[in-house]
């Protein structure tokens, strides 16, 4: 077995784990793909039945009281990206979060934004 793992389940591949029980073994979220830099905001004042949610859903809601990216959420929750994408699609289905998809760079409403990025990088 160790020999078989050596073939490509090496350190760079990370540990082999089972699908998470909390998302019912699902590996892909329902609906459209959720970009790693999509911004998530919890809907203020939304009501829900806590019995309907897993602790990880609640944690995601708490972390998104201010806008937060999907990648930051995954890092904060210390959960794999795919798991977080599924948790967020659950929350969206229940209208508990708003998801803002990133604007493609060529369609930014203000071309000055990218120049601001250059200026900002120069200040690093």
């Amino acid at each position: 077995m160790a020999q078989a793992e050596d073939r490509w389940l090496d350190q760079a591949a990370g540990p082999v784990v089972r699908p998470y029980a909390l998302i019912g073994g699902r590996t892909r979220p329902a609906g459209e793909a959720l970009d790693v830099i999509a911004m998530i905001i919890a809907v203020r004042g939304a009501s829900y039945d806590p019995a309907d949610l897993e602790p990880e859903h609640m944690a995601a809601l708490r972390l998104s009281s201010l806008p937060i990216s999907v990648a930051d959420l995954a890092a904060d929750l210390d959960l794999p990206l795919g798991v977080v994408q599924i948790l967020l699609s659950d929350l969206r289905e229940r209208s508990l979060v708003t998801i803002h998809h990133p604007i493609p760079p060529a369609r930014l409403p203000d071309p000055q934004i990218l120049k601001e990025v250059v200026d900002g990088l120069r200040r690093l």
């Binding site: 389940l9 089972r18 210390d78």
Partner: protein, 203 residues
Amino acid sequence: MVYAGSDDRAGVPVSIKILIAGGFGVGKTTLVGSVTEIRPLRTEEPLTAPGRHVDVLDGVERKSTTTVALDFGRITIRQNLVVYLFGTPGQERFWFMWDELARGALGAVVLADTRRLADCFPSVDYFEKHHVPFVLAVNCFDGARRYNPDAVRSAVDLDTEVPVVLCDARQPSSGRDVLIALVEHAIATIRRGTELSAEAVTP
């Protein structure tokens, strides 16, 4: 700042995605870490997707996914304007992640090591094919012979408009300069596209 037609985005940060690609051990982690604080981002992928080796599951039944850690960093330019860097694993077996990461990216930095130049070819091919603006950054390792950027360009057979820059991924100022070169290249690429559609932008 108010943008026309973006009222529903009021207060939502504009997020920009840059990929850091290149072969194994070429300095992707070092580059991301030189300009931001690295946060590990785990992805969990099924091992049974088409085109991957499933025979390695012998003896590890019921363990059907693998976790891959990406290097991920965030640069806050100002309030509501954030740049995200994603170090993309270079080995071909991780390519299933690339499409998701590359979609909507402003551009990519392809890191190259002149001692193993061929390692950068798959990344170059990928970004050319998917029309993602990129720069080739030659990481000047200690002891590696210094190359003229034009010699590298010719060896990699790059289009003339693709910038080739020399860098030292360990130096924050060097990593920063590579990112600046990329964003300026992306701006020029977007502007060319805009001009092609007859909406010239005054410089």
